[in-house]
């Protein structure tokens, strides 16, 4: 199995094959070979021994931002998927409509713009409150407010689309 892994701001090519006995793995990171002995303690919690060094690695299982806890560090990562690369490129062009998404669960406090209004990139669009703190969600691009899907008082979940900027 071969895939690209984005970790610590770098893209690494990783090749992995099971070895004998079960639990042993041969892994090549950018061509450099590592032999690892892995044991699953419970779902998401792995004991890994590499060259006699013992590591505890824990999957964060964050719904949108996968990360791994290695010792004191929380290391975000992304397994490269060619489709997501294409969609990111499209975002950068900003010619097509882009959503304003809730970054965390909360309640809508107020709307700072109206449908049809012209907005600049990074201009505040919607104010969301969570845990008594208010968070201003910004426009992802220069454009016009094509749609507002929420009203003050609504409860929203992380990742919900609150508005569309065209």
């Amino acid at each position: 199995m071969t895939f690209n892994l984005e970790i610590d701001g770098q893209i690494r090519q990783v090749e992995i094959d099971p070895a004998d006995p079960p639990g042993q793995w041969r892994i090549r990171i950018d061509g450099e070979e590592v032999e690892a002995d892995a044991h699953l303690i419970r779902p998401g919690v792995m004991s890994l021994i590499i060259a006699g060094q013992s590591h505890r690695l824990v999957l964060d299982a964050h719904p949108t931002e996968p990360a791994l806890h290695a010792g004191p560090q929380r290391i975000p990562y992304r397994v490269e998927d060619p489709r997501s690369l294409r969609s990111r490129r499209r975002h950068a062009g900003s010619a097509s409509p882009l959503p304003v998404r809730a970054s965390m669960p909360g309640r809508i406090v107020r709307l700072l713009v109206e449908k049809g209004e012209v907005v600049a990139a990074h201009q505040g669009v919607i104010v969301v409150e969570a845990m008594k703190m208010q968070n201003e969600l910004k426009s992802p691009k220069n454009g016009r407010v094509a749609e507002i899907r929420v009203s003050p008082g609504d409860t929203v979940a992380a990742g919900d689309i609150l508005a569309i900027i065209d």
Partner: protein, 508 residues
């Protein structure tokens, strides 16, 4: 003796109180909002009753509903914890009228000491040093200008009903005072329902030192030493310790005696805390009194060896304090970290959501007062504190080492937490040298870049991701499986012939 106590709170403190009740053989009644149906305090209580929808004014602040549940369940007493109704004198009065003991001071003492302006008057009567400034609410910006001119700038505007940094403004020059007065007053009005503000001289670079008191109903009051709470972010305590590195026996005795005098003059009973500012010359000034159990009470418990919640309950039952001032000795050093669901890398934005992974620290000298479990969804409706991690050791240096060790064992997945912030503080040379004041943390955060150091070696992390990816679909047989503790148990169970009916051999 109390047979049953209703706990009018949630989160870690509800669980903390519940455990104390269990230990004393008292049965417990939990109350909960719709957001907390699956909360740990509900799970662990003997009885549990719904209050209402998630917002606090419709649930944990509904004193009428809580009293009603207490009557229906024949609870003898109500423990309010901290926050919510804990400093509400009207609620304490309503409990008294219903012949249900409020575990805390009497309403009259709460009224004197709960308002900061009233408490400043009481401090004067008790002969306690306080910051220069007024002892009454300010009627107008003009009056504020007169008082400020008399004591000299810089000054601090504060809400009389305040707490948690709300309605507080530092003012350096007279021309800024009128607008600061207006904004502090309206912020206080919104937060506390009272716009009363007063003014005091700003102490430069103070330390926040507070004295824990216990007073029984026979007029016997003792101090249980100090806590140092100078590590604050925007006037909110983040890390506390006991004892303070700068308080010696003599200063401890003088602060303790002043605090006891204030409490006795107001007829105070039960647990309470007198907060002081300490200036660079180790002069102390009365700040305010908190008429309840504090979040940071565990550090005092560890260095004194006394369980404050047990003692609160026993005092409320009318028992005398089981010790005298001369019996109180501080031993060792304790540090508490307040673990929050917030993202230090993103301006400390709250980070509610599901805790998908939880590995909790343990071992010698570690105590965790927690209100979470793996799978628990941290609600958006309340304070985002998850747990309090407390380390106890013979010396401050060993307590720091122990806390750092425990932080490295602690994993909270699925949400962001401030665990890294504590590593940064505990490794900082100024903190280690106890060179701290209430502005210390804000300066540390302003000076440091939010970027993390690069890991020494990323090979184990990359290998782990690769193995997790390669075994993702192991359960349906489409990829290689990983040996696990669960499968080893199943293998053994099968060999012993004790079940394992769902066991199927897997080939790598």
């Amino acid at each position: 003796m109390f047979r049953k106590i209703l706990i009018a709170n949630r989160g870690e403190i509800a669980l903390r109180i519940l455990r104390a009740c269990r230990e004393l053989g008292i049965s417990t009644v939990a109350v909960y909002s719709d957001a907390d149906r699956a909360a740990p305090h509900v799970l662990e209580a003997d009885e549990a009753y719904r209050l209402g929808p998630p917002p606090a004014p419709e649930s944990y602040l509904r004193g009428d509903l809580i009293l009603d549940i207490a009557r229906r369940t024949a609870a003898n007493a109500i423990h309010p914890g901290y926050g919510f109704l804990s400093e509400n004198a009207d609620f304490a009065q309503a409990c008294e009228d219903a012949a249900i003991r409020f575990i805390g001071p009497r309403p009259s003492a709460m009224r004197i000491l709960g308002s900061k302006t009233n408490a400043r008057q009481a401090a004067d009567e008790a002969g306690m040093p306080r910051t220069p400034g007024c002892v009454h609410g300010l009627a107008s910006p003009e009056e504020a200008l007169d008082v400020a001119a008399a004591i000299g700038y810089p000054v601090m505007l504060k809400a009389a009903a305040g707490g948690g940094g709300k309605g507080m403004r530092a003012v350096l020059r007279a021309e800024d005072l009128p607008s600061a007065f207006a904004s502090a007053s309206s912020e206080a009005e919104r937060a506390f329902g009272s716009g009363e503000v007063y003014l005091e001289k700003l102490i430069e670079r103070p330390r926040h030192i507070e004295i824990q008191l216990l007073a029984d109903e026979n007029g016997h009051c003792v101090s249980l030493g100090e806590r140092e709470c100078s590590v604050q972010r925007r006037h909110q305590k983040v890390l506390e310790e006991a004892p303070s590195a700068v308080v010696d026996e003599d200063l401890r005795r003088r602060m303790g005696e002043a605090a006891v005098r204030l409490a006795l003059s107001a007829g105070y009973t039960n647990a309470g805390t007198v907060e002081f500012l300490l200036d660079g010359d180790r002069n102390f000034y009365f700040l305010e009194m908190n008429t309840r159990l504090q979040v940071e009470h565990p550090v005092t418990e560890l260095v004194t060896g006394h369980d404050l919640v047990h003692l609160q309950i026993r005092i409320a039952q009318g028992e005398p304090l089981p010790f005298a001032q001369r019996d109180i000795h501080l031993r060792g050093h304790a540090i508490e970290c307040r673990i929050y669901a917030e993202d230090p890398g993103n301006n400390f934005m709250p980070s509610p959501g599901r805790i998908t992974r939880l590995l909790q620290p343990g071992g010698p000298g570690i105590r965790e007062d927690s209100g979470i479990y793996e799978g628990w969804v941290v609600p958006v409706d309340y304070d985002p504190m998850l747990s309090k991690l407390i380390a106890y050791a013979p010396t401050r240096a060993l307590a720091i080492a122990r806390m750092l060790r425990a932080l490295d064992e602690y994993v909270i997945g699925g949400i962001r937490t401030n665990l890294d912030l504590f590593r940064q503080i505990l490794r900082d040379p100024d903190f280690r040298a106890a060179g701290i004041d209430t502005g210390y943390l804000d300066r540390l955060l302003a000076a440091s870049s939010p970027d993390q150091v690069n890991p020494a070696s990323s090979a184990p992390a990359i290998a782990a991701v690769a193995i997790f990816e390669a075994t993702k679909n192991a359960s349906n047989g489409s990829a290689a499986a990983l040996p696990s503790s669960a499968s080893a148990w199943k293998t053994a169970a099968r060999r012993e012939g004790i079940g394992g009916t769902d066991w199927t051999p897997r080939r790598p």
